[in-house]
């Protein structure tokens, strides 16, 4: 079963329904036992970086998530759930992220309209099973004001341009994470979620 971590940040139902729509077993939960037994973990999220870290800590989920990430369990971070993997964010100075990946989350420059909201194209920096069946330059749906700048260029999986070119997705071993919302990105997004479920199986 794929478990979507329930930590009170945003509507998780659409991610759940998307997996269910694709015929995959899925649950939204904060139950440590269920999370430990999960074949794969999804960390979505909408909201502020600092609030999210606080919620994860208060619910006793922070260590659990870090453990799963380090155990090699397939992991999918979406939007804020992608940003949380890194060390810190300009959105919430002084707050430490999960820090399993090196890098910062940075505010878009003044020169562009924030949030970056809408469909935008995604270029592939490399191939990966999670991108199976997807074409270069596919459009995905974004809503965010901060972007991830990973220290290690090697982990960048996809790139997107908005005022500047940023890492819209990363892959490192079991960890996959994207800035865009696959659950709101039509058939291309569903394909990506399906590919992730295949990786979990």
């Amino acid at each position: 079963m794929i478990v979507i971590i329930d930590y009170g940040m945003g509507n998780l139902r659409s991610v759940e329904k998307a997996f269910a729509f694709l015929g995959h077993q899925v649950a939204v939960s904060d139950d440590p036992q269920l999370i430990k037994r999960a074949k794969g973990i999804v960390l979505p999220g909408v909201g502020a970086f600092g609030d999210a870290m606080q919620e994860l800590a208060q619910r006793g989920l922070k260590e659990l998530v870090i453990e799963a990430l380090q155990d090699g369990k397939p992991f999918l971070g979406i939007c804020l759930g992608y940003q949380l993997l890194f060390e810190n964010s300009q959105e919430s100075p002084g707050v430490k992220g999960l820090g399993v990946l090196k890098g910062q989350v940075i505010r878009f420059p003044e020169s562009v309209k924030v949030p970056h909201m809408g469909w935008n194209d995604v270029k592939f920096a490399k191939r990966h099973p999670v991108l199976d069946g997807l074409a270069e330059g596919t459009f995905y749906y974004f809503v965010h004001s901060y972007y991830v700048h990973p220290s290690d260029e090697q982990i960048v999986l996809t790139r997107t341009e908005y005022g500047l070119e940023f890492a819209s997705g990363i892959a490192q071993e079991n960890i996959l994470a994207f800035q865009f919302h696959p659950e709101k990105s039509s058939s291309a997004g569903l394909r990506l979620l399906h590919n992730f479920a295949q990786i979990c199986a």
């Binding site: 945003g10 509507n11 139902r13 659409s14 329904k17 998307a18 729509f21 309209k113 924030v114 949030p115 909201m117 809408g118 469909w119 194209d121 459009f139 749906y141 809503v143 659950e183 709101k184 990105s185 039509s186 058939s187 997004g189 569903l190």
Partner: protein, 241 residues
């Protein structure tokens, strides 16, 4: 960028189309609005326009369960309006997963509300300005405001709105074709426009798309998709990224 927004209007939990916005002149197209929403998605829609009609004529959101079902089940962004009368309503819809919240009545009758909504929510809110014979109507199109389109558009722009919706009530739901002349006061103002009302053929949409350099950003299509006068997959070819 020019986008097609299939419309899903909800009245009494059902997916309906009205004639010129009259609540009594409804055609029910489905008892299950989310099925319609998924149908448009499966045909390639990249965005949906959802209206809570009971909310629009009433005091507040009225078909929240149906709206929530759509937001949970579709895999594309959705803008939702009808009965959004408070900051709480905006937050509610955004937290349920709406990508954009459509404001009408209160934003058009209370400047402070409009300004505050734009300051707080930016492009996550969009104002729908709807006219009958050039006069702006609110509260589910049942009340006139006496304000002119020209004045309201200037007000929207000075309040910081990046885009707006305009519906020509006179043509809405009639399949009489889109009357481009109604757009004149809105063009070349530096505000993005999503147009609606009476679109009934691909040619209507093609003409709107030709106005992209003058501010057109999209078209909302309702009855013509339900009646089959326009095939979604065909009209989507006009979308460009």
């Amino acid at each position: 960028m020019f986008r097609i927004y299939p419309a899903v209007d909800i009245k009494g939990g059902k997916c309906v189309r009205l004639y010129q916005g009259e609540m009594r002149r409804e055609t029910v197209f489905s008892s299950c609005p989310w099925e319609m929403a998924l149908l448009w998605e499966s045909q390639g829609a990249s965005y949906l326009h959802v209206v809570d009609l009971d909310g629009a004529v009433g005091e507040s959101l009225a078909n929240l369960d149906s709206v929530k079902e759509i937001l949970d089940r579709v895999h594309i962004p959705v803008q939702v309006g009808g009965g959004v009368r408070s900051e709480g309503d905006i937050r509610k819809l955004l937290s349920l997963g709406a990508q954009r919240v459509v404001l009408g009545t209160r934003a058009l009758t209370e400047s402070a509300f409009l300004k505050e909504a734009i300051d707080k929510f930016g492009s996550q809110v969009i104002v729908s300005v709807d006219t009958r014979n050039g006069e702006i109507a609110v509260r589910g199109w049942t009340k006139k405001t006496g304000r002119s389109l020209k004045e309201v558009v200037e007000h929207l722009i000075s309040s910081g709105a990046a885009r707006m919706i305009h519906t020509d009530i006179t043509r809405d739901g009639t399949l009489r074709g889109y009357d481009q002349s109604v757009l004149e006061p809105l063009l070349d103002k530096g505000i993005g426009i999503i147009a609606a009302g009476g679109i009934s053929a691909i040619e209507d949409v093609a003409k709107l798309k030709a106005l992209t350099p003058r501010g057109l950003e999209g078209a909302i299509i309702g009855r013509a998709l339900y009646s089959g006068d326009i095939t979604l997959s065909e009209v989507l070819k006009l979308e460009e990224e």
